[in-house]
Structures are given as C-alpha cells and as structure tokens.
Symmetry: C2
Amino acid sequence: MDMEILDRNLARTSIDTIRLLAADGVEKACSGHPGTPMEAAPIAYLLFTRHLRHNPANPDWPGRDRFILSCGHASMLLYSMLHLTGYDLALDDLKQFRQMGSRTPGHPEFGHTPGVETTTGPLGQGFAVGVGMAMGARLLAEQVHAELFDYRVFTLCSDGDMMEGVAAEAASLAGHLRLDNLTCIYLDNRITIEGRTELTFSDNTASRFLAYGWHVQQVEGENLPEIDEALVRATKDPRPSLIIARTHIGYGAPRKQDTAEAHGAPLGAEELRQTKLFFGRDPERFFDVPDAVKEHMLRVRQRGIVLEESWRNGLNEAVAGGNSALQSWLQAAEQPLPPGWDAALPHFPAGKDMATRQASGVTLNALAEVIPLLLGGSADLAPSNNTHLENAEAFGSAVSGRNIHFGVREHAMGAILNGLAHTPGLVPFGGTFLVFSDYMRPPMRLAAMMGLAPIYVFTHDSIGLGEDGPTHQPVEHLAALRAIPNLAVIRPCDANETAQAWRAALSNRQGPTALILTRQKLETLDRNIYASAEGVLRGGYILASEESPLRVVLVASGSEIQVALRTRMLLQAEGYGARVVSLPCWELFDAQGQAYRDQVLASGEVLRVAVEAGVGMGWERYIGTAGLTLCMRSFGASAPFEQLMEKYGFTAEQLVACIKQRL
Amino acid sequence: MDMEILDRNLARTSIDTIRLLAADGVEKACSGHPGTPMEAAPIAYLLFTRHLRHNPANPDWPGRDRFILSCGHASMLLYSMLHLTGYDLALDDLKQFRQMGSRTPGHPEFGHTPGVETTTGPLGQGFAVGVGMAMGARLLAEQVHAELFDYRVFTLCSDGDMMEGVAAEAASLAGHLRLDNLTCIYLDNRITIEGRTELTFSDNTASRFLAYGWHVQQVEGENLPEIDEALVRATKDPRPSLIIARTHIGYGAPRKQDTAEAHGAPLGAEELRQTKLFFGRDPERFFDVPDAVKEHMLRVRQRGIVLEESWRNGLNEAVAGGNSALQSWLQAAEQPLPPGWDAALPHFPAGKDMATRQASGVTLNALAEVIPLLLGGSADLAPSNNTHLENAEAFGSAVSGRNIHFGVREHAMGAILNGLAHTPGLVPFGGTFLVFSDYMRPPMRLAAMMGLAPIYVFTHDSIGLGEDGPTHQPVEHLAALRAIPNLAVIRPCDANETAQAWRAALSNRQGPTALILTRQKLETLDRNIYASAEGVLRGGYILASEESPLRVVLVASGSEIQVALRTRMLLQAEGYGARVVSLPCWELFDAQGQAYRDQVLASGEVLRVAVEAGVGMGWERYIGTAGLTLCMRSFGASAPFEQLMEKYGFTAEQLVACIKQRL
C-alpha cells in the first residue's frame, strides 16, 4: 500500500474526472448507470491509487489484491479506473461503452476486459464471489506460501447487494471463517430503483454484520481521510471488514443527486452540463482527462510493476530454496491436473451394487490424493452427497483445510465456488441434492458464462430418492440444467460411468460440470458383457448392441439404464432386436461428429425410445418426434422408491408394453 | 388463546406421547427424521393446545391462526399434533408415514393432509411463506375487517431455515413492515447434518434479528412456563417476534440426543426402546396414546368449534350490518374474480408501437380497478416491470396497500407470493427481470406443486433488452420455466396478446402463470388483418395464413412474431406459401385437442420453423426433428438490441436464407 501523503487537490480533480468519465460514457451510450460511479468515485480513487496492490501492466499477477465491483451496473466506474491507472483499456474503449464488440460492455465481463476479476451485474453475486476469493487466498497462504499469497479481496457493494439472500449467506460464512483478508465497502446511498430505500429496507446493517462476526466501520463517502483510515484499519482486524460509506447517488448532478433518476439512465445533456459546472469543469469537453490527472493516475502502473517485480523475486527465492508446495502450485496454476492424474480413477468390480453417489465419493477421494488443490464440500449434506475428503482437514476459522462446510447455504456455495475457481491452481467442487440446484442457478449461470470450471455434485437425482417425496424429488431439473449454455450435465448409469464422469468433469476446464447421481443403489455393470464405461467421454455410446435385426433403440441415462437393459432382454426374447444407448451427457455427445452420433442412434426405420425419470423435454432431438418418451409428466410422491418407479412407469414390463403397442 | 392453568403432569405425558409417536412413525417407515419432533414437542404442544386459535373440525376456517412447519422434515411432529388435536387424521394414517398413497408423506404437502397450511421441506421456504401470510392477514384486517382477520402466523424453524438466504430476505422485509402478527420459533439445537453448527454457523441470531427490527426472546426448549410466557409476550410487541428456543435434537434418546445421528434416520430398535424407558413408557408399546392424553388433546377440537362459531357470529353480524368490504371479500374468497371482470381488459389500437411490459402495465391497472384484492409489486424494478398500481397505496409498516415494494429480494418475493396466494380472496403478482427468475425458482416450484396461482411478471425477456448484456439477457430461462410441471408460461407477441395473457393467467386458478414480456417496443398488430388475440387462450393459433399452397409454417412467440411475419411476406413474395403460428403458451396449447393442434401446425410435407430468441430446447415437439430451429446457442452480448437481433440471426432476411436452403 502506498502511504504517500494525499494531495487533496489532485485527488479531488482525479475523482471528479472519474465521475465525469462515467457520466460521459453513459451519455454517449444513451444507456447505463451514471449515479453509482459518481457517488463511489472517491472510494474507487483511494482504493486503486493507495490500497490495492495491483499491477495494471499485468492483470494476471497472482499476488495482486482483487477488486470486485459487486454493483456491476456501475461498470463505467471500473472501466474509468482501469483506463486511468494504465490497464490495457483506452479512452476510445470508454467511448464505445455498451456498443457491439466493445471491451466495455454494460456489466463487467470476466475474460473480456483486462482487470475485470469476475462477471457481475446480478446483485449479491460479486459479494459472495469475493468471499470465495478470500477463502482461496487463505488456503494458498496456508498451504503454499504465507507471504506470497497475503493478498486481499475488496468488494464494492450497493443496497441491492445488501438485500440479496446470497450475500447474507456468504456474509454469515465469512464471519464464521474470520476471513481477515476481505474488505467490503457498502455504498449506503439510501436510493433504489423504486425510490428511497426506506420504502423497503430498514435493516441496521452495521448491527447485522456485527452479528455475523464482522468488523464494521462507518464513514462519510466524500471524506477522503476518513475512508483512507478505515481502509487501513480494516486490514488490521482479525475479522472480515465492512465499511459502510454514506454516499450520494449521482453526486454533483444538481437536479438528480440523491434521487432514483440518477440510477439507471443518462443524466441528459443539460443535467450533465450543470454537473460539469458544479465540478468547475468545462461543460463543452467530453471524456476529459486533465494532464495532471493522467500523469498522477498512471503512477499506479509504475508502482504496480515494481510491486510485482518484488513479488516475483520472492517467488524465485522461495522456489530456489526448494519450497515444494510452491513448485507444485506453479504447475497447478498452469495446469491444475498433474500428469497421469487419471491413473488414480478407481475401477469398480462388476456385480456389487452401489449408488452412483457412493461411487462418486470413492472416486473423489482417490482423486484428492493426486490433485492436492482439489477442494470443496457440501451445503450441509456431505454424508448424503458423499463429498467428504477422508484425508483432509476442515476449512475453519483457524485452519484452511480442503473440506468446506458451506452450511445450509446453496446459493452462496455456488458463488463461493466461482471465487475458488478464480483462484489459480484450485479445483473446487460443491454438493447438494439435485432439487436444490434451483437455489444456486444464478452463480452456475455465471460460471458457465465466464468459462469457470467448478464441479457440482448433485445427488438424489429423481423419484429414486423415495420417501422424502415431491419437495425433494427433482423432475424438471435435468432439463433446466441442460438448458444452460456451456454447462455440462453428466448422469452416469453405474459406478464405473461415475468414475469416467469425474474424468470428463475434470478434463473440462472451459466450463462447469454438473454430476447427477443417485441416492439408490444401482448394479455395477459387467463391462466384459457391456461396452466400456469410457464411452462417457463421448457423451453417449452403445452400451448393449442388438442381437437380431434392429427394431428398437433404447436411449437412457442414469438409473434408467437398468430398466432399459431389462427391457432389451425382454424384447430380444420376443425376437425384437433392441439396442441400449447410454447417453449420460448431451453436451459431450453433441460435440461428437455427425457420423458417430448417427452410428450410435442408428438410422432408418427403428423406434427410438427415451427413458428418463425426469420431464422428457428435449429428448426429441435424439429420438425424433416419432420416438417414444417414457418420462415424468408431473411431480413425484412420497413412497419407497421401487414403488414409485413402478407407479410412474419405469419398469421393463411397462416399457415393453408401450413399445410393442407402438411397433 | 386458552389461558387455563397448565397441568404440568398431563402436559409432560402429552409431550412425551408426541415425541414417541414421531419416533415410532419414523421407525415403522424405516425412513424419516425423529430428532426434531422429539426436541420440538413441548413447543408444539403449547402452541396447539394453548396459543393457536384453530378448529381441527374445520381446517379451512378463514379466521384461524396459521401454523407453518418450516422445518418440513419434522413432518411427524405435525402429523402427531394434527391427529391428537382432532384433525381428520387417524392413528392409522400415522402408521402409514411415507408410504404410497398415504396422507402422511415425507414432508408436509398442502392440499394433501388436512391442517397442513403450506408445503414445506426445502429450507427457508416456510419461514418466508409465513411472512407472506402475515402480510395477507394484515391486508385483510385493514381493508376488510380488523377483528375478523386478527389472526396470527406461527412458524417453526430450524438452523437450516436461519442459514438460507430466502429467510434472511423475508426477515428483513418482515422487520421493515413491522408485522406484529408473526411469531417465529427457532429451534436452536446446534446440530446440522454435517455435525455441530459450530462447524459453519456462528451468527448471533438474536442480534441479527434485532438488526432486522424484530422482537427477540430466548427460552429453554423444555421450560414450559418460559415458552408459554414468551408466546404471550410475542403477541404484545409491535414487531414480528422471534423466540429462540435452546433445544436438544432427539431429546430423550440416550445415545443419539444432541448428535447429528438423531436427525435423518430412525433411532433403531434398541435406542427407541431406551428412549421409551427414559420417558417411563412401556417399550413394547408402539403408537401409544394414553387415554388421558387423548381426552386432554381432543379438548382442542371442542374449543376450536366454539372459537369458530363465535367468529362466524361476528361475521354474520358484520355482514348483516352492511359491511360491503366484507361482502365483497366473501365473494372473492369463493371466486377471486368478480363476474364480468374481463370486460375491463383493454383493447389496444393497431399501429401504435408498445412494449409488452407496457401493455401489461396498462392491463394490470385496468384489472386492479375491478379486482379489489389484486395486489403485488416488484423486486425493486417496478418502473421497469410496469407493475405499479396507480390508484393504490404502498404496503408499508403503517398502511397495508396493494403496492408491495419487495426490495431487491426476488427469492423472498416468490415465497411471499405463495403466502399471499394462501390467503383467501387475494390475487397476488410479482415482477422482476426474466433472468432473475433463477433467483426464485424454489418457491415457483412449490406454487406449481401446491396448485397456487400467483402471477409472475417477467420482463426484459431476451437479448432484446440490449445494452445490459449477457448477465441480464435470459437465454435458457424460457426452457427452464417450461420444464416446471403445472407452471403456465405465456409469452405474448404484442399489446393485445398481452391483455389476453393476463386473462389466461387470471383464469388459471390451478397453478402459477409466468408472463414473459419485452423491454423493447413491438408493433401492435392490426387484428383486422391478423387473427384475434384471443387465440392466446388456446395457447397457439394461426396468426397469419398462407396465401399460396403451404410450404412453410413459422412458429414463434413474443418479439420473434414480428420477424416471422416479415419472413412470411418475403417468402410469399417468392411464391412460397407461409403461415405464421403464434404459440405463446405451450401448456395451454398442449391442453387442446389433437385435431386443433394438427390444424394449427399443419400436416404433410411442410417445413416447420421455430423462431425464438432463447435456447431452442423442446421446440422439436412442435416442429418435428425435420424442422428448423432458429434460436440462441450461446449467451448474448452487450449492444443495442437491433444489432443483437441481427448478430444472432433474428432478421427476416437471414431466416429466409436458412429456409430457402432447407427447401
């Protein structure tokens, strides 16, 4: 941190420049959010010039502090800061705000703009991702190197972030874990889109965060020394730190300041003009950066280069000193999976019944032995999800082990997994019941959009969970997850497919993967009789071929493979040639060549039958509209699972009857 | 409330009976959760016998207090209470716990078991539904009759409920609104599935709820007078009330009490035997209800009949006295829509461009004039969702108007809508951006399961929202919502279809409806040229017929109808007969007869083309696998919407090119 004496005049001019860049950008785009950048400019200025240890010349420096704009709608604030401090973002980029193909989209997008640490916009997500990043930092500091990974996470939040449940969940966990490397600044502007926050929000936020176990300070949003000191004090407390800044949305806009009008639309030509006059600036100049400001702000880049250099020296010294954890991390940061990692995948002997969740637990534990930074846990269902790592410690307030107890907080878990996935070298996973994937779709969507690769372990995957009944039985969830672009959904049919599903999930570093696993036991197939489970890697494969001229192709996933195999036997006995295709993953299958897909699904006059204990939506793609879909058409019920499977038609006898009727 | 003197011995025997009924039920089912019923029995006993004003002889009495078991896994507690206090639930029903077709499913299901007020199980939902019920009660008390609707809502919660974000959101709103008719009892047992709560949860819950503006008390979970007094004090405070009861999971089970083992599995024969001995009961007796307990508990039913009778007398007097609000409510409670309500639906003149969100706002306001208990709002996006009722007041801490400011709390909004929908006569709606439907799927799913009929107003329905970019552009959401059984999803194509969509939504009283609306303006079609918008009520209809022999059927919804109509013109100009089918609602269309559907979609050798700015999943059902799906295959981008529509292929020229290639 640069503790040089604050030049108030230069600071003020810089801050006003930031505000006006944002207001100009929104005005030119005819779209966007000027108010929050204008209120938060003093805080952003102090952070970026005096507190954040970052290097604009290398946004990927692993030792940098992280800054997350949780109120992503204030994107012009971030873009202005990145431009002024010397990131690879030109003034011309700012002028292209919200335009097709520009580097300055409406909300900050990770991987799209240098210096954007995570994609934000949906409120609450950035705050919770920050908790995950702080956890990742603490784990690296503890397991790899304390000084090299003493970086800090800063999150800038709005009222909306404070109201969203995902942030509440994450704040509770952060307080519990005593994440002392996390500072959150909350812009208490008392305005939301519908009007003043008093319409709907009267929390005592300070008391609430104290109750979570946070350190809390309150400052005035225009008082630079006060903010500056609060940022320093935040680093010295053993708890995560919340700084509540009383700010004024649209600060400086004479008519719109402190009103909802300043939030989500351009100020308008005249108001913008008046705003510039308020700041003593020439109203005819747009995107104006005074030379003194330019020079002053670019010093951040120079300092950043020095900071990283010093860090790299430390790194080299430690490596030269033979720090093996660090050497291993350096490899993991490049490629999280060590060479030959998949030799650790277990092979399950045929004949022994085993739920796929159980096979997953065995596989996960085997992999954890060879992938040192594989870490995760469950939203309080570890014994059910089989996500516990036997040879690892818990991630607690004192020790940062690889078993994370997320608590009954699925939504925060999803976002925290994104924060961990942002941390170089880490391979995170998280588990809950499939039905509760509904609680965590927003961060899953963001992971898919960002190309992060957390692995979701979703067990209890159908009516096959039995007695817990319809509230716990997923029906629509397979379809709803498959609908998310760039999310791989894999539903293995037995223990060995489960091991291969883990192989596919870990091999997929370009997006998240959801493993869909049973509660109930399934037969472990004899792969001397059936095709190799490695077919999972192609998404779908012929598990059992027809033994007479092909009449029926049974396409299924997961637990319904068993009923498909029995159906095949019965059909064959009656002289109908039937094939069983195991299709655990649409995304992988769709990525195969047309020839392979045609070969697997067969062509010509055959009846294709999709069998899955979920809504059948989308299976038509594989079986044609002339095909037969045996699926769920309603919510389930509470009863032992064998009875449910029969009630909803998932028996070989019922299937055969339907098929023969159609033939 | 019955303040007769507490007979400690009889109370204790009754409480132990409740505990053992639950333990026996779980043991017999070989499945379930004994621990929480055992710890919570004293509280449930006091509530059901001394505090709840309810009538077991009529679970639908509108003036009754509501009891919600938010920790739905403790269902055997509720079933035991319902049985003992004389609801229509026999001891034999308890013996059928979790069995096929029984009235005692794994988690409480509304509409399935008399006395179950709402379906619970997914944690946090019951708590938030309770907030909605308390809001509904306050609205009825204020707008209909103060004394008749002075009922109270009681919610029983576990650690999980306290950790879930949805509960945090709802608690914050309840505190803000000063819902003095809400009592929540939190079972602070310090055990979760993964072990002791200290693994993951160290909130100071009392301080947290004080910060939300709640009244907070702490009691010992076995201290009957202390609990009793706390329940009384809760009614006297102007804030919602939280009672934190320090309890012991599996109370009385010598080996498993205070351990996670007592949570989710039968105690086991020997432990159950020891438990019965601990309570001084005969270990050989199962489902044992001593006569004294039976008689004592059934007095609740007698008292309930008297309570309701007195309430009905008050009702009759008030009606006789000419209370018109009450008369109107009596009708609404039977049939929420007054006769002829749909005459209020606006007709929009052709030619004027109008976003469907805007048409929705006009329609909603017109309907609010004729449906007095139509109420709702938005999760802080009212100006964008067009959900504000012009002639209604806000629902605040002092006045209970029909405009609800939910705050940036989509998840709680979804659950609160369920609570409002449970309130007789109310017709609730709630709005947010379609992309944020992901934040509220769990309560939407429960609404669909329960057959409640809240209406969701989801605007900004595609890349058509433009500059806000991919974080705000729904892509997978139409598919993901259509996958939910019993949820009607309607995406109208212009202003008049929007009015009809509202008609369809309000007419559907058997499940929830999601209205999917544009941000951008759309042409209001001239219905002299095109078919009547009332086709919406059949889910799909021929909007524009072919003018030469049919070659192409364009099937679309929402904003893509416009591009389909232009495509039709271009195709016709080239001599290809083309038809446009508007298919705003799959659920309604699927409910039509086969003949109608075949007629609309046409048969024979035609090319069917689905056009929708979302993932195309499921459209194959209507267009066949030989059809052409013009849809999104990725997330969107930030740019003006016209450019995005072109980039992703949604122009007539691009469509025509694809179609001609296929023809």
